[in-house]
């Protein structure tokens, strides 16, 4: 993967994002940045709105209100009907919590189809397949694999697309510690090459190990954010309680 060099102000930014679904407020005035060469960790309890933030930031679900800025280009939303089909995927890409591998294709085809569509260099394919230990399942279909194997295949698919911004939604939840370490190493390598990463996770230790900064949300509200070191000395009682449970 080539090192990505972006202008100083380039980033993926969500400003004052609101999201309502069926009348209930899922996100309330959320602002956050995904910055090149940084890993930002999105933490919060289940149902706090982490997946919705990722969907809004990647414009898969239009925010009810707010602005998403990608490398200086604004995508403004005044209502649910605003939508943009020109968002430059896979420049920004997502690994979903549900993984969503194509069920009728083998894992190998799942990985290769997007790569072939974008004429991507396949030289990293074998290296990444071996590092993520998925060679044995390449010829299997997703429904023949364990949750952890599917997570690794989904990760490989999006990583090989060489995105500028990678949004990850609980992608290490089914992995053993050894594989989590491998994934962590790969993410750090990507960060060092200029990729901006947003990692939604419950694994606080992982966040502390590889993260640069964090955003803690609860019930759709940004409670606390800052440098990752602040997870050791949280300012709010809510974050403090959360950390006591999850560490």
């Amino acid at each position: 993967m080539q090192k990505i060099i972006l202008k100083d102000n380039y980033m993926l930014e969500g400003k004052n994002i609101y999201k309502q679904i069926n009348g209930s407020e899922i996100l309330n005035n959320i602002s956050l940045n995904v910055v090149p060469s940084k890993i930002s960790c999105l933490i919060g309890p289940s149902g706090s709105g982490k997946s919705t933030i990722i969907n809004c930031l990647s414009l898969l679900t239009p925010p009810s209100k707010g602005v998403v800025t990608l490398n200086g280009q604004d995508f403004s939303f005044e209502n649910e009907k605003s939508s943009y089909s020109i968002f430059p995927y896979p420049l920004v890409t997502v690994v979903f919590q549900g993984l969503f591998l194509f069920p009728h294709m083998t894992n190998e085809k799942n990985i290769l189809l997007p790569l072939q569509e974008h004429n991507k260099d396949l030289s990293n394919f074998d290296i990444l397949v071996d590092r993520l230990k998925i060679r044995e399942v390449l010829n299997k279909y997703p429904n023949e694999c364990s949750g952890g194997e599917k997570q690794r295949v989904a990760l490989a698919r999006q990583i090989l697309l060489e995105p500028q911004y990678l949004l990850l939604d609980e992608v290490t939840s089914a992995l053993d510690l050894e594989t989590v370490n491998t994934v962590a190493e790969i993410l750090v390598e990507m960060r060092n090459k200029g990729v901006g990463i947003l990692l939604a996770t419950h694994m606080i230790n992982l966040a502390k190990t590889i993260g640069n900064d964090f955003y803690f949300i609860d019930k759709g509200i940004m409670i606390e954010s800052g440098n990752i070191s602040r997870l050791n000395t949280p300012e709010t009682e809510r974050l403090n309680k959360f950390l006591q449970i999850y560490i």
């Binding site: 990647s58 898969l60 995927y89 896979p90 420049l91 920004v92 890409t93 997502v94 979903f96 549900g98 969503f100 591998l101 194509f102 069920p103 009728h104 189809l113 997007p114 569509e117 974008h118 279909y141 997703p142 429904n143 023949e144 698919r157 999006q158 697309l161």
Partner: protein, 221 residues
């Protein structure tokens, strides 16, 4: 005269009727499946515009019995516009038209019912619309469409006998003609029923074969 003697005596009429029915069905099937797939895909892609027009047509078509449509096209329409179209062509047009909208409805609903998650996944992987349609949507809906589409084609085969009522010399009309001469309704209409079974059973078996061959079980275990 037993049934075999009747067949031998009137074999030209039988064969001609058989040929007309098969030609009619092949045209109706191929136009309906190809046209229906195109209309269904366009309806799903452009739901607010093309899809709405197709829905209106589909609702109107499904509300009118095939026989009424055939009669309307054959008698009042030709009289009104002072044109003369061969009955076979009218039958092909009417049945294919109905088939197109029945198949289109199935295709459109199958596309719309496809879980959105796969489309999101394809989108963030940067797959283009054409690739998503050809490599994700169509293969995933193929399994659920095989059975219903072949069932519709069997319905079209059955509906083809209405063509005889606008003077198309199909198998039903030939059987009626022969019966008028020999008066053997039990034998002749039993033979006709057997003819339809001979066509529909392979179609049903084909549906099962295709389902088995192309429809791998993708469900999570």
């Amino acid at each position: 005269m037993n049934i075999f003697e009747i067949f031998v005596t009137y074999k030209d009429g039988f064969l001609q009727g058989l040929g007309v029915t098969l030609e009619l069905c092949l045209l109706v099937w191929s136009i309906g499946i190809i046209g229906g797939a195109i209309v269904g895909i366009l309806s799903a892609q452009y739901n607010a515009s093309f899809g709405l027009i197709a829905k209106i047509f589909s609702t109107l078509i499904s509300g009118v019995p095939v026989i009424v449509l055939l009669y309307w096209l054959y008698y009042p329409m030709q009289q009104q516009f002072e044109i003369d179209i061969p009955p076979f062509n009218i039958a092909v047009f009417a049945l294919a038209f109905v088939n197109i909208f029945m198949v289109a409805d199935l295709v459109k609903n199958a596309i719309k019912d496809l879980p959105n998650q796969y489309l999101l996944s394809a989108k963030v992987s940067g797959l283009r619309g054409k690739t998503i349609l050809l490599k994700i949507q169509i293969p995933l809906i193929f399994k659920q469409l095989i059975g219903p589409i072949l069932l519709v084609q069997i319905t079209m085969l059955h509906s083809s006998i209405f063509a005889s009522l606008i003077n198309v010399d199909d198998i039903f009309r030939q059987i009626q003609r022969i019966n008028a001469m020999v008066y053997k309704p039990i034998e002749l209409y039993t033979a006709l029923a057997i003819f339809f079974i001979v066509i529909t059973v392979p179609l049903t078996l084909l549906a099962q074969y295709l389902k088995k061959k192309y429809a791998k079980d993708y469900s999570e275990r």
